[in-house]
Subunit: 214 residues, 2 copies
């Protein structure tokens, strides 16, 4: 009888562990299960697939710790020859956000949002020569990292373009008091979501070729 109870305990525990790990997974395809041994690998893929633009926010403020996590995610992006040619301006000041709203066709969102991050290129750190414009790609990768971190942390955001549209670059530079060497690529508008938009399904087989363009 004691043996039976011990066996029962062991089996129950085993079932619970299995159940618990299964709960961690939110499987989309058998492929994920095959390749993602650890809990969370799958969640990282799902985070990419569920990110979408969020344009309405609650009044909840974003803590400075969370802001730092978003900036750390941005700086984790790869850069050409590890040049890290970027500068980030985090804007939480209400008056400054409203000033920025006036420069932006997405003004309404900025008026509602508790946070914006301007991702900028630092021309003092950009490469010289024909690879100079790699700063645009590096800063875009940083921006996408921030958007994905936003989604991972339960926030919502939208990427609003600035560079290469001259008037926008000038207007944002003026509000943020940027020197000429700091060029705003975009302004990410961020807050806690007040809407739950469905991510777009943008998968199109005609956008893919195999081995050569056909």
């Amino acid at each position: 009888m004691n043996m039976k109870k011990t066996l029962f305990s062991i089996l129950s525990a085993g079932a619970l562990i299995a159940f618990c790990f299964a709960g961690c997974k939110n499987t989309t395809t058998s492929e994920v299960v095959e390749t993602a041994g650890e809990c969370g690998k799958n969640a990282a893929y799902e985070n990419i697939m569920t990110r979408t633009s969020v344009r309405s926010y609650t009044g909840r403020l974003v803590s400075s710790d969370t802001v730092e996590m978003l900036l750390r995610a941005g700086m984790a992006a790869p850069t050409a020859r590890n040049s890290q040619p970027w500068h980030f301006v985090a804007i939480t000041d209400r008056a400054k956000l409203d000033e920025l709203a006036a420069t932006n066709k997405h003004g309404r969102m900025l008026q509602e949002a508790p946070l914006a991050i301007a991702v900028c290129g630092n021309m003092d750190k950009a490469l010289d020569g024909d690879g100079r414009d790699y700063w645009i790609q590096d800063c875009s990768a940083a921006t996408e990292n921030i958007l994905l971190a936003v989604n991972a942390l339960g926030l919502g955001a939208v990427w609003t373009g600035v560079h290469p549209i001259k008037e926008r670059v000038e207007a944002v530079s003026k509000v943020l008091n940027l020197p000429e060497t700091i060029v705003p690529l975009c302004v990410i508008v961020i807050g806690y979501p007040n809407e739950s938009p469905q991510p777009k399904d943008k998968w199109k087989t005609e956008n893919v070729s195999y081995n050569t363009f056909e």
Copy 2:
């Protein structure tokens, strides 16, 4: 005695559940725990922070299902006015990879890799007017998504730049038989890792300003 055993079983099960969920989390800051209620939110953030360039690969081939998952991650990126101005060429053919290696200063990696994805801009879908070059930012976001999906699925990769360096654009276009309207932004070299490089810590407080540039 029976009561005691039952109680013991319940407590053990509880401890196991707690242990199991704790195992799902790999906490970096208290902030994550606060905001990430579900298992995996944390893992999505960690996936961004642990991505790094992998330049050496085992002989293991990448399945077509996995290639499709990477391409789906790319197409999940946001694009200016939802223009989706991209085209992806997935290269798994050994001869084609070797041909590509000859055009690339990262040739050795391509000779070893079982997969490369050329992320290209599609000029027929790029915006008109002063926002035309947003395709570069859109395709860079798609590239970063693919790199993060690579990391999530246990693969390794490195972003090798092509556009705007003219000779590289011409060489890659020739190998992949690209028409003039399809411009290669970069070639992502992908495989199962044969090295475990430590992610660089690129966090620098001097790269951040708050509210205005100081």
